[in-house]
Symmetry: C2
């Protein structure tokens, strides 16, 4: 059953669908929003709190964990699930994105990518094979292959070079994984930037390789929303119907309806916790409140009166504003918790809408 994607229903109104993805640590109802736990913790929350938001799977970062505390240590501690006390599924990214966004130096060769750690400047090397080995040590349920996340904007010849290199790496990753596939799934990552033609070539080449799931990478890298929507609408329908489709790094409330209607099954985004650290909370109307605003000083309403999270059930905007201004971390905890619960509820509602169609 592990790796099986059950397509429960496809909408007749749009390309959206509802499904179930089976992994070694349980089943995930899709579409699904995955909170991000970069350093083996969803920032500010206990795993119990994360579970209470209804999150079914978390994403953790191979790059960060490889550097600190080290994947050998995590393996020795019984794997990432045990280490962070999270018994549900985990997806780990490949580290590719972080190498390009965080590390000080990077040198790409056919072999892989050499870079310097953003923590201590030490020289490191990721290869398609080593990144699989690291994720084996972490023991995630879904692994991602090393890729080159092209920047935005990016010239066509660079985009072409990047996806071709990525494809070569993905082939090697798959071959390495298939030596002993076990219960960890390996998804493919489609690249090609904002170029429809390259996206099609990348998708087709990866489909020919037959992965258990397909991700669209290279989005949410600074492009305007309409370009992101355009490339999502173009790329997602190219992917196999019977496999889960993951739109990497996307997951604001305003993205969900559109992207799900293009056929996306999985999302991840740091926004719920990052925005919380900046005092921003998702409201009932699909917008955001800045909790610092003076208008909330004596506001006895919860962040969102329609929300069932611990924060909204027990605390007022006035209290959370006080905590935030007084620099109390409980503010961040409560706002993070609400923002994640908001995303989970939003995606669940859309899923239920699809299932309820005639």
């Amino acid at each position: 059953m592990v790796g099986k994607f059950e397509l429960l229903k496809s909408s007749k109104k749009h390309k959206g669908r509802a499904g179930i993805l089976h992994t070694a640590h349980g089943s995930i109802e899709t579409p699904v929003f995955m909170p991000v736990g970069t350093q083996a913790t969803v920032k500010g929350l206990t795993p119990q709190m994360v579970e209470d938001t209804g999150a079914q799977i978390v994403l953790s970062n191979t790059y960060h964990l490889a550097l600190r505390p080290g994947s050998d240590l995590v393996e020795e501690m019984g794997g990432l699930h045990k280490f962070m006390n999270w018994s549900k599924p985990i997806l780990t990214d490949s580290g590719g994105y972080q190498v390009f966004s965080l590390s000080k130096m990077r040198k790409i060769s056919d072999d892989g990518v050499e870079f310097r750690s953003h923590i201590d400047g030490s020289k490191r090397m990721f290869t398609p094979e080593s990144v699989i080995d690291i994720q084996r040590q972490l023991g995630s349920d879904i692994m991602m292959p090393l890729d080159i996340c092209s920047p935005y904007p990016c010239k066509r010849n660079q985009l072409e070079k990047d996806w071709i290199q990525t494809l070569a790496w993905e082939k090697r990753a798959k071959a390495h994984w298939e030596k002993a596939p076990g219960k960890q799934l390996l998804f493919a990552i489609v690249q090609g930037g904002m170029d429809n033609g390259l996206r099609k070539e990348s998708a087709q080449a990866l489909i020919d390789l037959d992965f258990p799931g397909y991700a669209v990478g290279g989005v949410s890298v600074g492009e305007p929303l309409d370009e992101m929507n355009e490339i999502t609408a173009h790329t997602v329908p190219l992917l196999p119907e019977d496999k889960p489709r993951y739109l990497m790094g996307v997951g604001l409330p305003e993205n969900m309806q559109f992207c799900i209607e293009q056929g996306v099954d999985m999302f991840d985004c740091v926004a719920p916790t990052r925005l919380a650290r900046h005092g921003q909370v998702f409201d009932q109307e699909g917008g955001r409140l800045n909790i610092k605003n003076a208008q909330f000083q004596r506001d006895q309403a919860p962040i969102d009166p329609s929300c069932d999270c611990y924060a909204c059930q027990h605390f007022t905007r006035a209290y959370i504003r006080h905590l935030f201004i007084a620099k109390e971390v409980l503010a961040i905890t409560l706002m993070s918790l609400h923002n994640i619960r908001h995303m989970v509820r939003l995606v669940t509602r859309i899923r239920e809408g699809i299932l309820a169609e005639d």
Copy 2:
């Protein structure tokens, strides 16, 4: 019943006792350790977590809340219990200690103390009456009167001047409180520094005024442990048997046994949460571990294998060390939670020992 102190048992081996103090928000089994929630939150913990540590009462700071968010705001929000979502008893201090330790300028007169806010430099005034009014607005179960906390070391004539001024303020505080005592209790604060004679005079004068409880102030202000123990052993037995006795600002694991044996019923201390923020956790043997130490890097044991807290039941030292080094706030949450639970368990064990005596 509110205000009643039931003395359940006095030890025959020492001056320690076990009792129950009844307040408007429930009964407190004494001896008791009170976690500190300075700004209407025990730092790093949800009120649910605080309750789960077994804490029966929290302390909050009048000085901090008066400056931010303001006691009028807290009152408008339904009082401190509702504001911070804590339904058990709350003790608020008088703000005296913070005026002397935090504010930039202070001018004592018979009337009260003028000072500048450490937050915005604004000029403020605390009088014995205004401090009661503020605590009325907060709605705490136990209020403390404005006092002068003499520094350590301090000359005898200054100590004498300070306790006499404090006594005059306490008389006014009591008169103001008695106009409408309601369900909030007012404790007295004995001052007199490390001077046995002045402590006796201060205690006697306050006993003559007949307060619902008695606190020993002016300890834990930088004096060596033996001096603190000496003045505690001297002062506490001067206080009425039938009233609760509160040793202000004291509450390290190494203080508990001795102080309880001198007849102390109530303790508060910021140490459990402050030490946690510095990576220090209480261990099984009454010492402390510095979680940063390399020896814990691959240590699969919980902080304290004998502890039943959420942190010790679910996480290893290796994981918490990783979180702390990676500057993840979950580290602080887990260590704070453990440290408070450690104090609660320690005091509960001593209480049970007294109750179990023949």
